[in-house]
C-alpha cells in the first residue's frame, strides 16, 4: 500500500476496509501438523503441566475408561499444529491486518481472550490440519494500555475432514502511550549513548534482544563499532547480522574510583571478543568481580537501565 493517509479517521477507514476484505476471504487452511497426535508429546506435556490424569498416559487405565484408550488432553488442541523451533508459520488472513496496525503505530500487542471448544477428544494417530478465518475487528477503543483495535480470529482443526476442535482468539493491538517522565518513580539512567542514523540499528536490536553487528551489504565485512562507510569496499549499503550472543573476555577493568553516575562501584567493564570476529565493550554482571578473567566465556544479557534504555551486558557462561 502506498496510500498516504494521515488523519485518524482515514487510518480507521483504511484499517476497517482491510479488515472487511480479510474477513470476507473466509477460511484459509494452514500447514498440517508435523506429527500426528502421539503419546510422547502428550507425556512431555502432562509432565510439564503436572497433570496426572491417567487417561492421557496410562494405557491400561485409559482402556478401561470412558474413552476406551489413550486420549490427548483437550487443552493440547493448539499444540499439535504449532510450528515448533525454526518452523515456518503458515500465512493467515489476519497477518495483513496485524501488519497494517503495526504500520499505523498500533505496535503493542496483548492477547485478551482464548476460547477453545472441543468437539471430541483426540486420539493418537489423529492428524490435524488447521484453518484460520478472521472473524472480528473492532476499534479504535480506549483501553488501559492505550488506544487500540481488537482483532479476533477463529481456528478450526480438522482431522480427516472432521472439525474436531476450534478456538476463538482475540488480541488487542494498541498504540503504546507516549512515555512521560515520572520523576521519583524511576530515575533516568544518566549515561546515555548518542544515537544517530548510523548506529540506530544497533540500539533497535538491543531493544529486541538482538546483538546486531553491522555487515557490509556488498562485501560482507562485519564491523563493530559500526560506521556509515565500509572501509574495505567503500559501500554505503549496510545490513546487519545478529550475533550468536556468546563471547570471551579479551580484556577487562574493575572500576573502583571515582564514583560514576548511575553506577555502584566496583563494577566490571570488559572488551568482549565475539566468535563473529569483532569486539564489543560492555559490563560483566551476575558474578563477583574477582571471578572475571581474560578468556572467561560470557554470553550477552540485556539489562533495562530505565524506561527508555536497555544495555547489552555480559554474564558468565559455561565454556
Amino acid at each position: 500500500m502506498t496510500t498516504v493517509l494521515t488523519t485518524p479517521e482515514s487510518v480507521r477507514e483504511l484499517l476497517a476496509a482491510l479488515a472487511e476484505r480479510q474477513m470476507a476471504a473466509g477460511e484459509t487452511p494452514g500447514a498440517p501438523a508435523p506429527d500426528p497426535v502421539n503419546l510422547p508429546m502428550i507425556r512431555h506435556w502432562t509432565a510439564a503441566m503436572g497433570d496426572r490424569n491417567p487417561v492421557y498416559t496410562d494405557e491400561e487405565f485409559a482402556a478401561r475408561s470412558v474413552h476406551g484408550g489413550i486420549v490427548a488432553p483437550p487443552a493440547m488442541a493448539q499444540v499439535w499444529t504449532m510450528p515448533g523451533l525454526g518452523g515456518e508459520r503458515s500465512p493467515t488472513p489476519v497477518d495483513d491486518v496485524l501488519a497494517a496496525l503495526d504500520e499505523h503505530g498500533f505496535t503493542g500487542v496483548v492477547a485478551t481472550n482464548c476460547e477453545q471448544t472441543y468437539h471430541r477428544y483426540l486420539r493418537p494417530g489423529d492428524r490435524l490440519v488447521p484453518a484460520t478465518r478472521m472473524t472480528g475487528f473492532a476499534g479504535p477503543k480506549r483501553t488501559a494500555l492505550g488506544e487500540g483495535y481488537f482483532v479476533t480470529w477463529e481456528v478450526t482443526w480438522y482431522a480427516s475432514g472432521e472439525a474436531v476442535n476450534s478456538m476463538v482468539f482475540r488480541v488487542l493491538k494498541f498504540r503504546p502511550r507516549e512515555r512521560k517522565s515520572q520523576p521519583g518513580i524511576r530515575k533516568s539512567y544518566p549515561l546515555r549513548p548518542a544515537v544517530n542514523r548510523d548506529t540506530e540499528f544497533f540500539w533497535e536490536g538491543v531493544r529486541k534482544g538482538e546483538l546486531r553487528i553491522q555487515r557490509c551489504a556488498r562485501c560482507g565485512e562485519l564491523r563493530h563499532p559500526p560506521g556509515p562507510m565500509c572501509p574495505r569496499c567503500r559501500s554505503a549499503d549496510r545490513t546487519h547480522v545478529t550475533a550468536s550472543g556468546v563471547g570471551t573476555v579479551y580484556s577487562y577493568v574493575v572500576h573502583h574510583h571515582p564514583p560514576v553516575p548511575g553506577r555502584e562501584t566496583p563494577f566490571v567493564v570488559a572488551v568482549v571478543e565475539l566468535p563473529e570476529g569483532v569486539r564489543i565493550v560492555g559490563n560483566v554482571v551476575d558474578c563477583r568481580y574477582e571471578e572475571v578473567g581474560i578468556g572467561m566465556p560470557v554470553r550477552v544479557a540485556y539489562r533495562r537501565m530505565d524506561e527508555d534504555l536497555i544495555l547489552p551486558m555480559w554474564v558468565p557462561r559455561e565454556s
Partner: protein, 387 residues
C-alpha cells in the same frame, strides 16, 4: 630550503593544586616568562598555538600580554596528544614564513577547576563522531582516563606476563627524579614499590600511584628560526624533528578494536617519522621525555620507539633502564607523575633545559632529547638537539 627553527624560550608558573588565579592569568604569566627567558618583547610574537582543549583563546592571550597583531594561530586536537604538535605547528609556520616568532602555551586549573579524571556524563551525549565513539563505552561506566588506560594495561599484562610491580617501578623512578627537582610537586617525596602496591585501587589493574597527579599551572614555549634563536639569551634547542601521528583504526583512548591491544600504533607512526626526519636512531637519544599520565603506557612507548624489543620494557625498567644513571633516563624532571601534569608541556620545557645543560637532574652530554605527547590518543613527538 626550509627554515630550521628552535625553541628559544621556556616559561612556566608554579605547579600547584590551587593556583588561585584564572586560567587566562596563568597563560599570560607563562607567556611572559617564556618571552623573558628568550629575551624577546611581546611585540615580536606573531603566532600563537595551543591545544583545542585550552580554555584561553589566542586573541585573549594576545590581549593580556600585549602581543598585538597575529598572523598565525592554530589549535591541536586530541587532548594531551597535542603537546609536541604545538611545536610542530610553530615550526611549520616559521618554515613557511607564516610567522617569525610563535608562542605555544597550555594553561589550566586542572586540579582546582575542571578535573579530567572525574566522570562527565555528557561526553557520550552528542551524536558527533566523538560522541558516537564514546557511546560504545560511556553507558557502561567506562568513562575515566584511568579506566580507558587500565583496559589496555590488563591486556598488556596478560600478553607479556607483566605485573602491577612493573608499572609500579615507573612510578617509583618518576618520584625519585621529582624528589630532587624543586619545581616538582613531589619534591623530596619519593615513594617505594611497596607504597605503590599498597595504594588503593582506582581502576584495576591501576593503583592510585599509577595515575599522575592533577595540577594547576601553565607552560609556554617560544619558537623562532634557528638563525634568530642563535642571537637570543640561551643556546637554542634545535627542532630536529617534530611530527603528529594517528594509527589505523584510531579512537580517543578506546582503540580496543584493533588487532593488537598491547601496543600504541600511533606512537610507532610518530617514532618512524622522527627517525626518518632526524636521521637518528634510538641509540642517538641521551634522554627521553615520555608521556606518563598513567604508568602502563610508558612500557609500550619504549617498545614502539625502539628503545627495547616488544614485551621487554618491563625488564628494561626493572634493570634500571629509565633511571638517571640508566641507558635511557626517562623524565629526569619527574614527569607528570612527579613534577606536574601540564598536559605534556612541562616535559618539552624539561627537554629544552636538558639541551641547554641547565636541568636540575642534568643528563651528561644530552645532545638529543626525544619527547612524546599524550598516549592512547592521536599523538605527537619531537626531537630537540644541540645545533
Amino acid at each position: 630550503m626550509t627554515i630550521a627553527s628552535a625553541i628559544a624560550g621556556i616559561g612556566a608558573t608554579e605547579f600547584s593544586k590551587r593556583s588561585g588565579r584564572s586560567e587566562l592569568q596563568l597563560a599570560a604569566e607563562a607567556v611572559f616568562r617564556a618571552l623573558d627567558d628568550a629575551g624577546l618583547p611581546p611585540s615580536e610574537v606573531d603566532g600563537l598555538v595551543t591545544y583545542s582543549q585550552d580554555a584561553n583563546q589566542e586573541i585573549a592571550v594576545a590581549r593580556e600580554t600585549g602581543i598585538g597583531e597575529l598572523s598565525f594561530f592554530s589549535r591541536i586536537p586530541y587532548g594531551g596528544g597535542a603537546a609536541c604538535a604545538t611545536v610542530q605547528q610553530a615550526a611549520m609556520a616559521i618554515a613557511t614564513r607564516q610567522a617569525s616568532t610563535v608562542v605555544c602555551y597550555r594553561a589550566f586549573n586542572e586540579r582546582s577547576g575542571r578535573r579530567f579524571g572525574q566522570p562527565d556524563a555528557t561526553i557520550g551525549g552528542e551524536p558527533s563522531s566523538q560522541g558516537l565513539e564514546m557511546s560504545w563505552h560511556v553507558p557502561y561506566g567506562l568513562m575515566t582516563p584511568a579506566a580507558w588506560v587500565a583496559m589496555f594495561a590488563r591486556r598488556y599484562m596478560h600478553t607479556y606476563g607483566a605485573g602491577s610491580e612493573d608499572f609500579g617501578r615507573v612510578a617509583v623512578a618518576m618520584r625519585k627524579h621529582a624528589a630532587t627537582n624543586p619545581a616538582a610537586w613531589f619534591y623530596k617525596r619519593p615513594i617505594t614499590l611497596e607504597e605503590h602496591q599498597a595504594s588503593r585501587w582506582i581502576v584495576e589493574p591501576l593503583h592510585l600511584l599509577d595515575c599522575c597527579q592533577e595540577s594547576d599551572g601553565a607552560v609556554a614555549l617560544v619558537i623562532t628560526s634557528l638563525d634568530r634563536a642563535r642571537d637570543l639569551r640561551h643556546s637554542p634547542a634545535l627542532i630536529a624533528a617534530a611530527t603528529q601521528g594517528a594509527g589505523a583504526g584510531q579512537m580517543m583512548m578506546t582503540s580496543y578494536y584493533r588487532d593488537d591491544m598491547t601496543g600504541l600504533p600511533e606512537m610507532s607512526v610518530v617514532g618512524r617519522k622522527l627517525w626518518e626526519m632526524s636521521g637518528m636512531s634510538p641509540s642517538d637519544i641521551q634522554t627521553a621525555i615520555l608521556y606518563d599520565h598513567f604508568t602502563p603506557f610508558v612500557l609500550p612507548q619504549l617498545e614502539e620507539l625502539g628503545f627495547c624489543p616488544r614485551g621487554e620494557a618491563k625488564d628494561f625498567i626493572a634493570d634500571g633502564g629509565i633511571e638517571l644513571d640508566g641507558p635511557l633516563p626517562v623524565n629526569p624532571h619527574g614527569g607528570q607523575l612527579g613534577e606536574a601534569y601540564i598536559h605534556g608541556m612541562n616535559g618539552i620545557a624539561e627537554a629544552v633545559r636538558q639541551i641547554r645543560g641547565t636541568a636540575v637532574n642534568q643528563i651528561k652530554n644530552a645532545r638529543n632529547v626525544l619527547v612524546t605527547a599524550g598516549t592512547g590518543v592521536p599523538t605527537s613527538a619531537l626531537i630537540l638537539t644541540t645545533p
